[in-house]
């Protein structure tokens, strides 16, 4: 190995150089820091969050956690409808969700996967508080003390909380409910739902658990827990535990109430396997479901499967977006090349005038230009009128130029043309006219000189323009929205629909992520085939 080079002060030369450059690098970083920060906060982070939404599915597990656990070992093949335990867990989850006003959100979420669930949730939400009422009545009949909120609060509340609650004078915040450790240990399932009740009562209803009778599902939970009691532990140890001790034997004589039947009574769809399969399939916190939906697949217990034929739209839309963007890019090349050539070869004064005409569209609002195309292209519009007047088109057979793919291609070619002309122009400007002269002096005809000498040198401009136009086109929204009708819309219009109308942000994020991936893939392919070094935007 070569001997290490030393600087004059004896330090290694490399270290010295790094030290000398560090200040420069820091200064450069400081200069771009405001922009970097701005972009991080307003661009990268939101995009990251948005992309995260495409796989995020915590809403199911967060809203109906008990159901998710209970559904864990349910197998639709052996058991078309889950057992009562699942329904019971769902009743509790739904009760809490209803009180927290979260059940409609979950309903909408699951409705993306199986339509009808949204209304099912809303309908059930209105009647879920009746579930378990039969047990409430039997507990109260057995001992009216079960009707008293204080009985419950004493049983499940922590001693310190009970003291604090009793001392509370109604001013300031009520002491937050604290679950007693003993109750939690001895009656874990009832304690769980009672704690949820107490919290909801305090936070959502601004009431006190000491004054509100628990929900029916709390009685349901207590019944279930006592029903499976095996003699341990000793409930008498709880403060006021005698009442449970007494009820423990009594529940054996209670008339059982089927939770499943209660749900079936609310809506028979609860007996539908598909509903429960949807809930089970979308239980995990992260899902590939949005991405599968983005390519017309759906998540089923048996793995990905095609969506029903009449619901497959995204692959078609992606394909259409590609093909139409490509068409627009090619039209831009064909229309822009001669203009760029003229710009580069006319005398300065005329070239400047022409350049102003090229840039003119940039000074007009995009919306105005697109709307202008609407006026021009419609069936009774200027172009059709002219064609009819010339006699090229029969009056009763006017061309459909708008609200279809043709309209989108025409309007977008016009709008994106400057993005093709400018890079082409800047590349052509650097090709000296002497090349063409040299080619001609060597015996080439005008066409040969152009095709073999001029054109190859303008290819970097075509490349740069094409990348610009194609990438802009593939994500275009406004123009296809206005002139595209149904046959001329792009994937971005569907994304916008899911963002603002259907509010299925997860699917919108997945579609967006796929679009981003496709663009990056094309960019990569372009780099491999043409070489990104060959792209010149100027100079």
């Amino acid at each position: 190995m070569a001997e290490q080079m030393l600087a004059a002060d004896g330090r290694p030369l490399k270290a010295s150089l790094n030290r000398a450059l560090r200040r420069q690098k820091m200064r450069a970083l400081l200069l771009i820091a405001p922009l970097l920060l701005f972009i991080m906060l307003t661009f990268i982070v939101p995009i990251g969050q948005m992309l995260f939404r495409s796989v995020e599915n915590q809403i199911v597990g967060d809203t109906i956690p008990r159901t998710v656990v209970a559904l864990g070992d349910w197998d639709a093949n052996t058991d078309p409808v889950p057992d009562d335990a699942v329904f019971s867990a769902f009743a509790k989850d739904l009760m809490i969700a209803v009180e927290r006003k979260q059940h409609t959100r979950l309903g909408s979420r699951l409705n993306y996967e199986t339509s009808g669930i949204s209304s099912l949730f809303r309908k059930s939400g209105r009647r879920v508080d009746d579930i378990g009422e039969g047990y409430t009545d039997q507990f109260v009949a057995f001992d009216p003390a079960w009707e008293d909120p204080l009985t419950w609060a004493t049983l499940f509340g922590d001693a310190d909380w009970i003291t604090a609650q009793a001392a509370w004078d109604g001013e300031g915040d009520e002491p937050a409910f604290v679950l007693s450790d003993d109750a939690n240990e001895m009656l874990p399932r009832t304690a769980d739902i009672y704690a949820a009740f107490a919290e909801v009562i305090q936070t959502e209803n601004n009431d006190s658990p000491t004054e509100e009778q628990p929900w029916n599902v709390v009685y349901l939970a207590l019944y279930e827990e006592l029903r499976t009691y095996t003699g341990e532990p000793n409930y008498a140890d709880l403060p006021g535990g005698e009442i449970i001790f007494a009820a423990e034997d009594a529940v054996r004589d209670f008339a059982p109430q089927s939770v499943r039947a209660a749900f079936a009574d609310i809506d028979e769809d609860w007996e539908d396997t598909a509903v429960w399969q949807t809930i089970q399939t979308y239980s995990p916190a992260f899902t590939a479901g949005y991405f599968l939906n983005s390519v017309d697949l759906q998540k089923t217990p048996g793995g990905p499967a095609w969506q029903p034929e009449n619901e497959q739209i995204y692959l078609t839309l992606f394909w259409r977006t590609m093909v139409m963007s490509l068409t627009i890019t090619v039209s831009c090349i064909l229309l822009g090349y001669p203009v760029a050539w003229m710009l580069a070869n006319l005398p300065a004064r005329k070239a400047n005038l022409l350049m102003i005409l090229v840039l003119l569209p940039f000074w007009t609002s995009l919306l105005v230009r697109t709307s202008a195309w609407k006026v021009l292209l419609q069936q009774q519009g200027v172009i059709n009128d002219t064609l009819v007047w010339i006699g090229l088109v029969a009056d009763d057979n006017r061309l459909a130029l708008i609200n279809n793919a043709t309209g989108t291609i025409i309007a977008m070619t016009h709008i994106l043309l400057p993005f093709m002309i400018l890079p082409l122009y800047s590349v052509m400007k650097t090709i000296p006219p002497s090349y063409l002269r040299a080619a001609k002096s060597l015996g080439a005809t005008n066409w040969t000189a152009f095709w073999r000498v001029y054109f190859p040198q303008s290819v970097p401009g075509i490349g740069a323009g094409s990348i610009l136009v194609f990438i802009l086109a593939i994500g275009y929204y406004i123009t296809p929205e206005i002139v595209g009708g149904t046959k001329g819309v792009f994937i971005s219009n569907r994304i916008a629909y899911h963002i603002s109308t259907s509010l299925n942000w997860g699917l919108a994020a997945a579609l967006g992520a796929i679009l981003l991936a496709v663009v990056l893939l094309l960019y990569w392919a372009y780099d491999r085939i043409v070489g990104i070094d060959n792209v010149k935007l100027g100079g």
Partner: protein
């Protein structure tokens, strides 16, 4: 300024002329003429240089010959055939451009192959011709390189090979050595001249570098103001300039202004504005009383009386500056009211080094002093 073309018509006759310009005029804007009444005739095999300051019309002439510009008036003939209406690619004229114009996206071999391909030659012929052309410029090892991988001199050689590869009889060169350093330029000047003579091709060479023009050409056409001011072999051009523009433009020159006093055959006497009397050769002065500019080359001025003709007029001069230039001494004098009078003496062992401030007498042979138009 008077046009020299009127009294200095081309020497070659139309019968042997290969390239001919006849009363050619060119205007770009319809208001001014860039080329005014150009008449030129070149025999086959001649190396002719168009020399002149920028804007003198020399490049326009070349472009008209190549076919990239059309003559506004007049006729251009190649080998007796009018080529006014023949497009450039059918003229079969080789051309070397100022910045070489080698196609950057092709290798050297592809560049050379291009003119052969458009002439639909088969592959074997092409390869043989390319090899030969590269051999002529000693660039055989560079066939696979791109122009950007070559030095300026190498690019120039390739440009030359490309202009020659399809064996044109006429080759045009537009300031081909302008971008090269002095030493390389001199080597290539020599190579180009040799190659042209070996191949027997006719060359029209455009330059603004007079040394290049003098060393390379059979004849030089000095352009100014859209006209040929003088068309002559290099030695004639230097020693016998036909007008004051040519005298000023070619080489270094001392100019003194005065009035012709008396013309006596091939000598005349001029009274300078300072009152001094000198001997001169009348070139384009015709009668006594005419104003004239007399031109004397710095190396023809003598200050050693013994080397002058007896009875020759002398002028008083004061030495202002002595510059040592290695092979020569350059001395600036104050003569007849001008401070810019320069003499050059060879650095010989017995040569006198003049000291600034000293007074000397200077004179010259009458034939070296030319009385030209004012």
């Amino acid at each position: 300024m008077r046009a020299a073309g009127e009294n200095f018509l081309p020497q070659t006759t139309t019968d042997t002329a290969f390239v001919e310009f006849e009363r050619v005029q060119k205007s770009y804007d319809g208001e001014t003429l860039v080329v005014k009444d150009l008449n030129l005739s070149m025999p086959k095999g001649e190396f002719l240089t168009m020399l002149g300051p920028s804007g003198s019309g020399k490049t326009t002439c070349l472009m008209m010959l190549a076919g990239f510009e059309t003559a506004t008036h007049g006729e251009i003939r190649l080998d007796g055939v009018s080529i006014n209406n023949i497009p450039p690619h059918k003229r079969g004229i080789g051309m070397v451009f100022q910045n070489y114009a080698l196609f950057p996206h092709m290798t050297v071999a592809e560049n050379l192959s291009f003119p052969l391909e458009v002439r639909k030659m088969d592959k074997t012929t092409r390869e043989a011709k390319i090899k030969r052309a590269l051999g002529m410029v000693q660039m055989n090892d560079f066939a696979g390189r791109r122009p950007a991988q070559l030095s300026g001199g190498q690019q120039q050689r390739i440009a030359l090979a490309r202009a020659l590869v399809f064996e044109p009889e006429l080759v045009l060169m537009d300031e081909p050595l302008g971008a090269l350093d002095k030493q390389l330029r001199e080597t290539l000047q020599f190579e180009i001249t040799n190659l042209a003579h070996e191949l027997g091709i006719t060359v029209v060479y455009v330059t603004h570098d007079q040394t290049e023009a003098l060393t390379m050409s059979d004849r030089v056409a000095v352009f100014d103001d859209g006209r040929i001011q003088q068309l002559a072999p290099p030695d004639q051009l230097y020693e016998a300039p036909q007008n004051s523009f040519v005298a000023q433009f070619i080489g270094e020159n001392n100019t003194l202004e005065g009035v012709v006093q008396q013309i006596d055959g091939d000598t005349c006497i001029v009274k300078l504005d300072s009152g001094d009397i000198i001997d001169a050769v009348p070139v384009n002065v015709s009668k006594a009383g005419e104003r004239t500019k007399v031109s004397i080359r710095p190396e023809r001025v003598e200050f050693d009386k013994s080397r002058l003709n007896p009875g020759a007029h002398t002028l008083k001069a004061e030495v202002l500056e002595f510059i040592y230039m290695g092979d020569i001494f350059r001395t600036r004098l104050r003569v007849a009211g001008t401070d810019e009078f320069v003499i050059k003496t060879r650095n010989a062992p017995d040569q006198v080094r003049l000291t600034p401030g000293s007074q000397i007498d200077i004179g010259w042979m009458a034939k070296d002093c030319r009385a030209l138009d004012a």
